[in-house]
């Protein structure tokens, strides 16, 4: 019934729009909708779907031919698994014939599909953080990424610590790529800044009690503690921290940039600070910030449909938008899209303002990171 009603309406619309008959632009996406990466992958998928609907509601992507092309987004779940990601990439490239790929969610899967996509010469905009994915850019010709690299995030954190005279610091990180890469960046940044790391502990994402690690840290008497993980282990660590009665300043990573962290940790989260993209505190930004309107609009749209905002969805927003912008200048041409991506300048996204170049396929700088503090269960922009 409904279809019958829609049909004449659609025909009417088609007649009025200038380029309705043009062929769609097909873009692929691979997200970790299930598996350990799903808390990142699901908001990424939701954001991508939201953008697709939004763009198509406006008629589609305006290609270099001046016509509007509907955007067709083909999304696959890699279940946070490297093998499945590789097959998904091959399927997007050879079966769905996509012009570009958005994703994957995790660093491991992004590195796993690297060989496939580079050889097939398909541009990829990853939503995973590891710097290795795009460095060296000369070798990783076809790959770009939207999340801030660890060095960037950690750099802001370390400057924050140093500015407050917190020079004896302790570290506790989760034992997978996120924690490992965070530690490597932290080790380097603290050395450069002259801070002393008095403890380096690891814990597992499935750990149910991180008290022993924190007890060790307590014994090392640091002036500040940095915990690098995502919920639920990040929340458990936060609660254990409060239960142990530790009073020194407590820092976490951008991995806790969703409301679930605060829900799980409860009042123990109050006072915790972490470096993150500006999305969480969009409303508190200075009005002169170019990102502010973009952030507020995205947060409003996302929260209307899917619940509380988080920075992971923002990574997908940037990735899809970047690809769409490239399609506008290059059309359905893989090499052209790549070139267009590489020459992107001053793109105001959710994660930051992107300036890609042949030597930089991340294109962000420190302006993309702020310090956020949890106050009364809400995010506050730290000064």
């Amino acid at each position: 019934m409904r279809r019958l009603l829609f049909l004449p309406l659609a025909l009417l619309l088609a007649a009025t729009l200038p380029a309705a008959a043009s062929e769609p632009y097909t873009v692929g996406a691979i997200f970790s909708i299930t598996g350990p990466g799903s808390s990142l992958g699901i908001p990424e998928r939701d954001t991508a779907r939201m953008l697709e609907a939004e763009i198509n509601a406006r008629g589609g992507v305006k290609g270099p031919d001046g016509r509007l092309h509907p955007l067709k987004l083909v999304i696959y779940d890699d279940a946070s698994d490297e093998t499945k990601a590789v097959l998904a990439a091959k399927k997007l490239i050879d079966e769905d014939r996509v012009i570009a790929i958005v994703g994957t969610t995790l660093s491991g899967t992004s590195l796993a599909i690297l060989d496939t996509t580079q050889r097939a010469e398909v541009p990829v905009v990853s939503c995973a953080a590891a710097a290795k994915i795009v460095e060296p850019a000369a070798e990783r010709k076809w790959v770009f990424k939207t999340p801030q690299s660890d060095a960037l995030i950690v750099g802001v954190l370390v400057d924050h610590l140093k500015a407050r005279g917190l020079v004896r610091v302790a570290w506790a990180g989760v034992d997978y790529a996120f924690g490992q890469l965070g530690w490597l960046a932290f080790e380097k940044a603290t050395q450069a800044a002259g801070l002393t790391v008095v403890a380096n502990e690891k814990f597992a994402q499935k750990d149910i009690d991180i008290t022993p690690q924190l007890t060790r840290i307590k014994a090392a008497a640091p002036q500040a503690v940095v915990v690098w993980s995502i919920p639920p282990s990040a929340s458990i660590a936060t609660r254990n921290y409060a239960d142990l009665g530790l009073k020194m300043p407590h820092f976490q990573s951008h991995g806790v940039g969703n409301k679930r962290y605060i829900e799980l940790a409860g009042p123990a989260a109050n006072g915790v600070s972490f470096p993150a993209g500006k999305l969480l505190v969009a409303e508190q930004l200075d009005d002169r910030d170019v990102q502010k309107p973009v952030l507020i609009a995205y947060a409003r749209d996302f929260e209307a449909k899917y619940g509380s905002r988080n920075t992971f969805g923002g990574h997908a927003w940037d990735a899809v938008k970047l690809v769409v912008r490239a399609l506008e200048t290059a059309g359905p041409d893989r090499a052209g899209v790549r070139t267009a991506l590489e020459s992107t300048k001053g793109f105001v996204g959710i994660t930051g303002v992107f300036d890609f170049s042949p030597t930089d396929h991340n294109g962000l700088d420190r302006r993309a990171v702020v310090m956020v503090q949890v106050v009364d269960g809400q995010w506050r922009l730290a000064k």
Binding site: A79, E82, L87, K90, E95, G108
Partner: protein, 318 residues
């Protein structure tokens, strides 16, 4: 099946594989077949353990990982020829199997299964935490492709030819073995250890040898995986993959060597079919969620109703 017919059949399959790799342009289809062959090779190893030593290894993924890392590390860190890396990987897999099998094979089946599971978890932790050598959780990049006679195996079609050839060769050799004196002794052990020993068969040694062969085969699959994907990290080699291998072997029928490959094909194709099907059904969940439920139910159903597996053997598991 006698040896000549088996080799002729394998040869014919080999020709089909070669034709497919030449004629099919889609790297997706070729990629699926490569993963079927890689999983088939790994499952072949486990099927030797389950079908012929009568033991269950719940840590077989560890051998896959050992093979992948041995070859990956030798060819990147030490700059060896990748083929030398593959040889080292097979040796590492076999040695690791003997090292773990020597003490645990004296245990009853259940404890042995749990001990292999523990071994699998420990290997995973070592790969994940010994970052100085293994690259840790973020893995190892830049693994070179294998090359044959100066031709780099860096396309899906070439990889399929190579991995398919290795798999068929392994199937043929394992088939020969099972049909020989050694194979008879293995089947005898599976039937009755006491009677086999009374005929002068050294049960422990033979079981260890099977475990070593299985470790080597699974490690070989891991090494080929590393040079095909050219990136490895620990996360695909956890308990989940060990159990997936058990599912493949049970699906194919535990004592059937071609069955293991069939089981691997069934699992890989099922996953891909679900990926195509689930979004088409308009479900809000990811395909992987249904896949997990289905895996569990299929594993139970085959154990209960079809212990002979897809290949329809008469023997039962373990």
């Amino acid at each position: 099946m006698d040896a000549q017919r088996r080799w002729r059949l394998l040869g014919a399959v080999g020709l089909v594989v070669a034709a497919v790799s030449y004629a099919v342009p889609s790297s997706y289809v070729l990629g699926i077949l490569v993963f079927v062959a890689l999983n088939g090779l790994a499952a072949l190893g486990l099927s030797l353990v389950m079908g012929f030593a009568g033991q269950v290894s719940l840590g077989q993924a560890a051998f896959f990982a050992i093979g992948a890392y041995a070859s990956g590390l030798f060819s990147t860190g030490l700059g060896w020829n990748p083929w030398l890396g593959v040889v080292a990987a097979v040796a590492a897999g076999a040695v690791a199997a003997v090292a773990i099998g020597l003490p645990v094979f004296r245990l009853s089946g259940l404890l042995l299964a749990m001990a292999t599971l523990g071994f699998g978890v420990i290997v995973y932790y070592v790969l994940n935490n010994w970052a100085a050598v293994t690259g840790g959780p973020s893995g190892l990049t830049g693994i070179p492709p294998l090359s044959v006679g100066g031709i780099a195996i860096d396309t899906d079609a070439r990889a399929l030819v190579l991995v398919g050839f290795v798999l068929l060769l392994a199937l043929g050799l394992a088939g020969n073995l099972v049909d020989s004196r050694v194979g008879r002794a293995l089947r005898a052990i599976h039937g009755s250890e006491a009677a086999a020993a009374s005929a002068g068969i050294d049960v422990m040694r033979l079981k260890l040898a099977v475990f070593a062969a299985a470790g080597g085969l699974t490690a070989l699959a891991g090494a080929l995986y590393a040079h095909y994907v050219r990136f490895i990290n620990p996360s695909p080699f956890g308990i989940g993959y060990s159990i997936e291998l058990v599912v493949m072997v049970v699906l194919g029928g535990v004592s059937s060597l071609p069955g293991a490959v069939l089981g691997a094909a069934a699992v890989v194709l099922l996953v891909e079919a679900l990926r195509a099907l689930v979004p088409a059904l308009g479900a809000s969940h990811g395909a992987a969620e249904y896949e997990i439920v289905l895996f569990g139910l299929v594993l139970m159903a085959f154990m209960i109703f079809l212990p002979g597996g897809l290949a329809g053997g008469r023997r039962r598991a373990a």
